[in-house]
């Protein structure tokens, strides 16, 4: 049982991005986790329909873009449609207050924001009596934006809207 295999197994079962810290916690004490991740990223890039992607502190195993649509129906739905819609509203109007989002989406939006924050797709900061919401780097990664600039993301969504 070597560290490289352990990291690969962990990324497989997690189904979500893992931090380097999480990966270190399962590898042996003297493992160079960053090196091992790099070598896995390279191996997966080489062949097969899966990829391992590292962004800042996070590492995730997922289906390569060109295969995504073909197997999307097989995948368990990740975000429920109502949550996804709330996310859409946040992404398009950001930075946007939680109360504004609730006004557009109804009171269920509070639960959705909670879930989106837990998934690290949205982050918030206090803003008067409500909170100001914006999308995260993880959001940009997840939806395949090359940038995490809020302005550019809003613009691209605007284009899609036409």
């Amino acid at each position: 049982m070597n560290d490289r295999d352990l990291i690969e197994a962990a990324l497989f079962v997690a189904g979500r991005p893992l931090t380097l810290l999480e990966l270190e916690s399962i590898a042996s004490i003297d493992a160079d986790v960053e090196d091992l991740v790099e070598s896995l990223v390279a191996e997966y890039r080489e062949k097969g329909p899966l990829e391992i992607v590292q962004t800042d502190e996070d590492v995730v195993m997922q289906v390569k873009g060109e295969y995504a649509d073909a197997v999307r129906t097989i995948a368990q739905r990740d975000l429920e449609t109502p949550v996804l819609r709330t996310l859409a509203v946040i992404a398009f109007h950001q930075p946007v207050t939680q109360s504004k989002v609730a006004e557009i989406r109804g009171n269920k939006a509070y639960g959705h924001v909670h879930e989106l924050e837990a998934r690290k797709l949205v982050e918030s900061e206090p803003y008067g009596r409500t909170r100001l919401l914006r999308t995260t780097k993880a959001f940009a990664d997840y939806f395949g934006f090359e940038t995490d600039s809020l302005e550019e993301i809003k613009q691209r969504i605007g284009l899609l809207l036409r």
């Binding site: 497989f12 079962v13 189904g15 979500r16 995730v60 195993m61 997922q62 289906v63 873009g65 295969y67 995504a68 649509d69 197997v71 999307r72 995948a75 368990q76 990740d78 975000l79 449609t81 109502p82 996804l84 819609r85 996310l87 859409a88 509203v89 992404a91 398009f92 006004e103 557009i104 989406r105 109804g106 009171n107 269920k108 509070y110 639960g111 990664d141 997840y142 939806f143 395949g144 969504i157 899609l160 809207l161």
Partner: protein
């Protein structure tokens, strides 16, 4: 009216309704009339009904005891805790604004990841049971200590010398019993089943519990109190 210790109380004008009898009466009558279900208490509902009944009694110019007010304040506290905990109500079930934006967003096609979840193991179930039990015990103890502190305040107005005499008497009784076993039931200490005798035994027990001389435990609502020796 009992002889012996009771004249003290009578002299203080401590009628039974000055203590928990009236509060319990209110709750019992609410239960009897089917206004509350003792096995499935909706604390918000009970609090409202309890307070309404207290207001009624006041209107009839019956004395409302400090205990009754204490009960009311505890109920109110529980009610506010519950209201604070509950989710904001969904006023609009329907999603209000449906626009192109919301409809088109899935077109952004998120990355496809694996979302398998694993089953929980039996040992994890047991771990959670342990945590649930511990938490319950902690909150029970906390509530009991708080209650004792409040009792103490509420009863501070009582004539302390009389109370101390009663404490001594009950302590004597308890010591005698604890000499041969480590648990005594409240009912055993009640020689004659009058409200006065019950109150004159119950109040000293609360004092002793507050002083950590004994430990009180009531397994079920309106059930017998079990008394354990801590530091008599």
């Amino acid at each position: 009216m009992t002889s012996g210790e009771s004249p003290d109380t009578a002299a203080n004008g401590a009628a039974p309704e000055d203590f928990d009898e009236r509060s319990i009466d209110i709750l019992v009558s609410l239960a009897k009339n089917g206004e509350i279900d003792p096995w499935d208490i909706d604390i918000v509902d009970v609090t409202d009904k309890f307070l309404a009944r207290v207001a009624e009694l006041e209107k009839l110019d019956l004395r409302v005891s400090s205990r009754t007010l204490l009960f009311a304040s505890i109920l109110l506290r529980m009610k506010s805790d519950i209201l604070e905990e509950s989710e904001p109500e969904d006023v609009d079930e329907e999603e209000p604004v449906e626009d192109d934006l919301q409809a088109c967003f899935p077109a952004l096609s998120p990355k496809v990841r694996r979302h398998a979840k694993r089953r929980v193991s039996l040992s994890e179930l047991i771990q959670e049971l342990k945590k649930a039990t511990k938490r319950k015990e902690r909150s029970d103890v906390r509530r009991f200590v708080q209650l004792q502190a409040q009792e103490f305040d509420a009863l501070a107005v009582a004539h302390s010398e009389d109370i101390e005499r009663q404490v001594k008497r009950v302590k004597r009784e308890l010591k005698r019993r604890f000499a041969v076993r480590d648990q005594v039931l409240f009912s055993e200490l009640i020689v004659d089943n009058t409200v006065e005798a019950i109150v004159q035994t119950y109040i000293p027990l609360l004092f002793m519990a507050t002083r950590r001389q004994i430990q009180l435990e009531q397994k079920e609502l309106f059930g017998d109190l079990s008394i354990k020796c801590k530091n008599l």
